[in-house]
Structure formats: C-alpha cells, structure tokens
C-alpha cells in the first residue's frame, strides 16, 4: 500500500520541477546584443589643396569594451 504513495510523490516532484524549469525559461532570456557606431571626420584647405581629409569610423556589435579609443588619422 505504500508504493502508490511513493509513486505519487515522485510524479508530483517531477511535475513541480518541470513546471519550475518552464516558468524560469520564460523570464531568463538573453537580449540581443547592442550595435554601436561612432564616426568623426574633418576636412580643410591648405593653400590650393582642398582635398585634405581626416576620418575614422568605428563600429561594434555586442558589448562595448572599456577603454577602446581611436584617433583620427589621414586617409591615404
């Protein structure tokens, strides 16, 4: 007579564990990564040369890394 009670307990525990796992999966989601983009450029005339240009484009997908810094260098 004790076996059915044990079986019921095991089945009940399994149902509870499965239910808990499903409920948790609903709320623990991984949000999409952020997409970043920064850009800076300058241009000017020196004498008759009006095509001097400096520019830098930086894009990243996912979390930004700290201290990532770039300077503008002339585009050749």
């Amino acid at each position: 007579m004790r076996f059915p009670y044990q079986l019921c307990g095991i089945v009940g525990a399994a149902v509870l564990l499965l239910g808990a796992a499903v409920a948790r999966a609903d709320t623990v989601s991984v949000l999409p990564a952020a997409q970043y983009s920064v850009h800076a450029s300058t241009g000017f005339c020196a004498g008759f040369n009006c095509s001097i240009f400096y520019g830098q484009q930086l894009t990243a997908v996912g979390p930004a890394t700290s201290g990532q810094s770039f300077l503008i260098f002339p585009e050749l």
């Binding site: 990564a33 952020a34 983009s37 850009h39 770039f70 503008i72």
Partner: protein
C-alpha cells in the same frame, strides 16, 4: 566605451569627436569645431547605438502590460564665430519601441524625442507619420507619442520623457543617435563649434508597484544617468594628452639624433 577623438597630433587643424559610453549609462556625445587660419573647413561627428530592453516578471501571465517611462536630458548647442559663412547640423534623437494600445500592435515605435536644428515632431498614430511640428528658428525640441501627443517647445537643453506601456518578458529596441557638424567658409580669424548629447534612463511608471518586476537591457549596456564630462572637456583633455605624447616623442627623437 567607443571613442573617436581629435586629430591635432597629425596636423589636422579641425577637431571632431564622437563618444559612446555604454555602461553605466548609454551616453552619447559628439562635438565638432573649426580652427583658425583656414578659409574652408569642416568637421563632422556622429554616434549611434541600438540596444534592447525587457521587463522581466517570472510570475506574470504572458502579455501582461506594465507602465513605463523614459526620460533624461537631451542637449544641442552651437557657437558661431565671427565673419564668413557657417552651416551647422546638430541633432540628438531617441526612438523607443513598445506596445501601442491604440492599434494593439506590439514592438512598434511608440515614442520619439529630438533636440537640435531641424527637430520636428511626428504623429505616431498615423502611418506614414506626417510632420506635425516645426521647430523654432535655430534650435528646437520635439517629442511625440502614440497618443498623438506632440510637443515642440523647449530650448537647447530640454528634459524629455513620457509614459508608455510594454508587455512583460518581451524584448524591445531603443535607437539613440547624436551628430554634430560645422562647415565654415571664409572664417580664418574665428572658430565655430557644435555639440549634442543624449543620456536616457528607463524606469517603471510613477506609482507602479514594481515588486517582482525588473528591467533588463542588452549585455554591456547600463541604465543610469551618466556623470561623463561635457564634450568640450574631453576634447580639451584629448588634445592635452596628444600634446604630451607628441612632446615626449619629440624629446626622444631629439635625444636619439645626437
């Protein structure tokens, strides 16, 4: 942090910079300036980020709506030098996706705010959205929502933020963009400058009991007000750092030549 800085170390006279600080706050800042002794010059900077947020609620039934709000400061400024002709473009923008109870559509644009030259308000209840607001001369601030609310008042530094709704356990996107541009012609004896910044914070609606709820954002992104220095400050710091590096290199080269 992503940053593109000035170019004073390689001889470019102008200065343009973009900075994006993701944590502890999504903070955008751009600045552009011209310099002396050049008759034709321009500087341009832009920074943008798309990230995602979600209201987590383990015990809520699917589709539960939660009142939210987004707010913060949005700024755009420019300084025009004397003489010549100067053209500015200076704009900070924020676009928020959420739930639209009017159309019952989820994950659609429900709020936008912008500050700067040419800022214009859009009625989000119509598709395509018409322009319904015109900025004042110079700088304008505009914001609008799914309710048809449109506001185009405020100066170069305006607080923004209104309430909206989202469903629990659903990912929504936010797009932030700031740009600054200055083009000067025949202005060799003066300088012009433009900057814009954006610093949003998401929170639960006023009076809402948020027990059991939490706000998640994309990995690496924060959700707090920033304490980053103004663009003019970090441009000055960048220039000073470059000057120190250049001086150090010059001393090493001079020392090595003997």
């Amino acid at each position: 942090m992503l940053q593109v800085g000035c170019s004073a170390d390689v001889g470019a006279p102008n200065c343009a910079g973009s900075i994006l600080l993701a944590a502890s706050a999504p903070y955008l800042s751009v600045a552009a300036s011209t310099s002396l002794n050049h008759t034709n010059q321009d500087a341009n900077a832009d920074v943008n980020v798309t990230y995602y947020y979600e209201v987590l609620c383990p015990t809520c039934s699917p589709g539960t709506l939660v009142p939210m709000s987004i707010g913060g400061a949005i700024e755009a400024h420019y300084i025009q030098g004397t003489g010549g002709t100067v053209a500015f473009q200076d704009l900070a923008r924020i676009f928020v996706n959420g739930y639209n109870p009017v159309t019952s559509k989820d994950n659609v644009l429900i709020y936008q705010a912008m500050e700067g030259l040419g800022a214009s308000s859009t009625d989000l209840t119509q598709n395509p959205s018409p322009l319904t607001g015109t900025p004042p001369n110079g700088f304008g601030f505009c914001e609008s929502t799914w309710t048809g609310f449109n506001n185009c008042t405020g100066g170069p530094s305006s607080p923004y933020g209104l309430s909206f709704e989202v469903r629990v356990n659903t990912a929504y996107s936010i797009f932030l963009d700031a740009n600054a541009s200055v083009q000067a012609t025949n202005q060799p004896f003066s300088t012009s400058y433009a900057e814009s910044t954006l610093d949003p914070v998401i929170s639960f609606g006023t009076g809402f009991d948020s027990t059991g709820y939490s706000i998640a954002v994309s990995p690496g992104i924060g959700n707090e007000a920033s304490t980053v220095p103004e663009p003019a400050t970090w441009i000055l710091l960048s220039t000073a750092t470059l000057a120190l590096i250049s001086g150090h290199r010059l001393r090493r080269m001079t020392k090595g030549s003997f």
